[in-house]
Symmetry: D2
Subunit: 313 residues, 4 copies
């Protein structure tokens, strides 16, 4: 099933599990993907920046895709194919689609500046991946330094029928969702899926502004799933109550650079990953940082019992 | 009293009040500064980026300094003097000190790259402001694009006896505090004051890592004051309870670019500012954004009664 | 006489002369401006980046403007008013026009990214300087990191009737001139003056592409004047012969950062400036660099006798 | 023969030849590499930025390496292995060395800011490529935005015995060569080879400052070879005479972004390449730009007969 503009719900951004020796941890990957399905995810995104994609060679990337497709139980799989050149992007996109992915995700390289450069880049990327490969725009200026106005996103969407989703992680970004949804309403933009990320830091209000769901990797994706559901049911206070209870930890995990270590550490403590190892370059958590995360987990457990059922640190 | 390395507590980052026609709102400024003192601030910082300093000409900057000194009741006043050239920096620093400021704050220009460039810049800045003018390093890479390692900060501190404080707003930045405090302990760094900012997003843990207090402009500075006090008293859970209750709003206010509008809007609703007007360039809050802030204030009022006693929006 | 879209010829970018103690060298300034007029300049630009404008306070800037207006013999004077905030820009633009300037020059701040941000910035700048103040767009991405497409320049020109000139120093930039001139021809862009800069490194071909002249500070502005004249007369080979003879030195002077020291050193050796001093920050030439410049001057003297009539180094 | 710190002479930066349909042009590659050897090159660098490396997939990169090793006649081959992640870097470096390369070249990613980040990056890169693989530091801030002080280069050289060469293309950069050579003289830096690039724009003086040769891709590498030889023989005036004759064309070719099209066009006109095609993204020369290059070639032919013996445009 190709990814379509009606995608909604929660597509967790999957970390890539490694063993302490740096090798790909296939057992943890299988467990992780199966778990995503069990808890109610509607899809999954792999090999993004938080999936340590640039640290994998082509064969390893293929192994991650295969593991995901095998264990995700038929949910749509989106594969990050951002690359410094179109040759590598083409090769990975082709492999991904052949292996059963539903679409690919493309972030712009941080050398782009003008509106035309950004629009032109996506036109060339579409040539590289093929016009029949559904793709997601990753809009993450904090990471890429590339600033896309709503108008630029509209140009990309309208120029390229295979563009089906926006991974929205501009910051601040609430007005951008409102603008795009208004444009859909007035007919100047065709419908696309908007899933939001940037660590989930504004998911509460993003849903109210018209997002279709979440596309981030917070270590309690159940919360993302519940908040998205509550918001869609119009249960505003409950959505915020749940979100706010997680916000202290979520904020801690959203730190640029350091966040992935927190995420893997919590997933390890939750029994999903065998190890919180990252490949180089990647800073591990200090002892004191682990204690801080542990403290946040203890506090969270007063509200969410899932945070209480942890393995020893 | 010149600013010293023993500065601690909360130095709010003051916004500059304007009337809807763009003129300086002296009445609100007087009220704001008096209020900072009343609630227990230990100092104040004016004419920072969030004080819209680049939108003021020299005479207006002088008026803000005079108002602050007149109404802050003898607390130390720190004046932002960052400028694209040393001529303007020298002129403003001289005016500030003559008018009664306790010290000045300097952020590096976003053209600096190497360690030596940063260290060299501060050496030249000290020549410009005079070696007897106490100064604060503003370390805010999200805003300035300048990344200072702990080692660079140490070089600046050790080279320049007039450096007395670090306005710490690196992100992520917890390990940086720990490193600097360890260096003080082992004697390789002389003592300096560390007040933290970046909107206050990590104040809870920054205090535990060894910060001396807070130097940000969150619209409920009473919370910053209470959290700093609770942390110093070792009442960890209470500090986090209070901090967490404010975190949803604080996070909303910490948005780059949009944050100042939130801050001024809340201060207006609290009756401190007459208007939430900003000078150009500066985006006002949309109607929906104001409603979001109102909702966050309502939720906060369940925990903190100060958030309940508001003027009508 | 206000600056108009018919401006042409050579507007040297004037350095600001200083004495070795860092004070403004009024005598050299008077000599410099008078000399510009004598050799056939058609205007002059002061207080640009190469005029060390950020190192001057407001009073000093006023002194430079007054000196220029007094000695330039009625030629149009363009004043750089780029500033981090509109307050300072407004103040300097007002002073400049009151003192007799013909227009002002505005470079975009290096925080701008999207097309709309750039267009919006110039709209606000025009509000600040007043709609009746003619202004020049400085398009210098190597210095500002701001990339303006031809389309963005057209938007600024068409939105703002007071925009009369483009200081073109994009690099590479030949196609940009051709595009803009084609747009003038097809009526989608109203006429503006295009003077080129970036140290003059492509003046030979820029004239052939349709530039109206030169707006740079090379230490032999007579060459710029002659090349512009020869090009307009259609004497292509002679224009290139002269340009090529100067290219080794011109290239040496065009180095970012180091170039101003070369320029001031040569102007001192030519007897125009009393000293080659720069204000801080500003690296002086090393002894070996001076010897390299001397060698280039000796070689140039074989072709251009003006390079032979120098003061001792 | 592994690359050593005694490397000298001219290592042309080879373009990757393509046919108009975008496929690798093996015949032109063979001709190009054989020609480099015949004219007196002492080595060659392939798969750099000007070799369109990011547009090749791994198999194509291997094909280029094989072609080069097969036709370069035993000269040392340096292979660019810069990559966004260490997995790809490791894979390409291993292939390169197995196929007979003498060493690899590594440029820093444009996200690095502090001195420690740069030094740390090279330490991790050495782990990836293996400590026995000789490598070249590519120091090209205009392309990478990474600024390396001489001190940072020294730290990399002293930390990593496998660092044997600096591809120097900082700009301005003459003082950097002098500083490094002084440090070799005083014993604080072990000897390394310094070959200079940045299009060759300062080769004349770089040789006089102590460079060992040239490492750029100018379309008349014979000139580079002759200038390096003349400089080493102490024939200063002759070196400059030859260099200056080529400077107008060399400057035209040195334009960022547009330069490769010029280079390939001239190599095509010289009969070395069958086509001047680039892979996307890559702007072709406009008709008028080709005419400008043709004109520069005509002018050059008056001085260097090689520029007269061209194929029809």
């Amino acid at each position: 099933m190709p990814l379509g503009p009606d995608a909604a719900g929660v597509y967790p951004i999957a970390p890539t599990p490694f063993l302490p020796d740096g090798s790909f941890d296939a057992a943890s990957a299988a467990r992780l993907f199966a778990w995503y399905r069990e808890i109610g995810s509607t899809g999954v995104t792999i090999l993004g920046a938080m999936g340590e994609a640039p640290k994998l060679d082509h064969e390893e990337s293929v192994a991650v895709i295969q593991s995901c497709v095998a264990h995700i139980g038929g949910l749509p799989v989106v594969v990050g194919v951002s690359a410094p050149g179109f040759a590598a992007m083409r090769a990975l996109a082709r492999s991904a689609m052949e292996l059963g992915a539903a679409g690919v995700m493309i972030a712009p390289p941080n050398t782009l500046r003008t509106d035309d450069q950004i629009v032109g880049y996506y036109a060339q990327a579409v040539e590289a991946i093929g016009k029949d490969t559904p793709f997601v725009i990753q809009d993450y200026p904090l990471l890429t330094s590339v600033v896309m106005t709503p108008g630029v996103i509209r140009r990309i969407v309208m120029d390229n029928p295979s563009c089906v989703m926006l991974k929205h992680e501009d910051w601040p970004g609430l007005e951008k969702i409102t603008t795009l949804r208004n444009w859909q309403r007035d007919g100047s933009l065709r419908p696309i899926s908007i899933l939001t990320a940037n660590g989930g830091l504004f998911l509460d209000f993003e849903m109210e502004r018209g997002a279709d769901g979440s596309n981030t990797g917070y270590a309690f994706p159940e919360m993302l799933i519940d908040v998205v559901r509550l918001a869609k049911e119009g249960r505003r206070d409950q959505a915020h109550d749940l979100f706010d209870a997680h916000l202290p930890l979520l904020r801690y995990e959203q730190q640029m650079g350091a966040g992935l270590a927190v995420r893997k550490y919590v997933l390890m403590r939750r029994g999903i990953l065998t190890s919180d190892a990252q490949r180089k370059p990647g800073a591990p958590l200090s002892t004191i940082a682990k204690q801080e995360v542990d403290y946040l987990l203890e506090r969270l457990a007063r509200f969410d019992k899932r945070a209480g059922a942890l393995k020893a640190a």
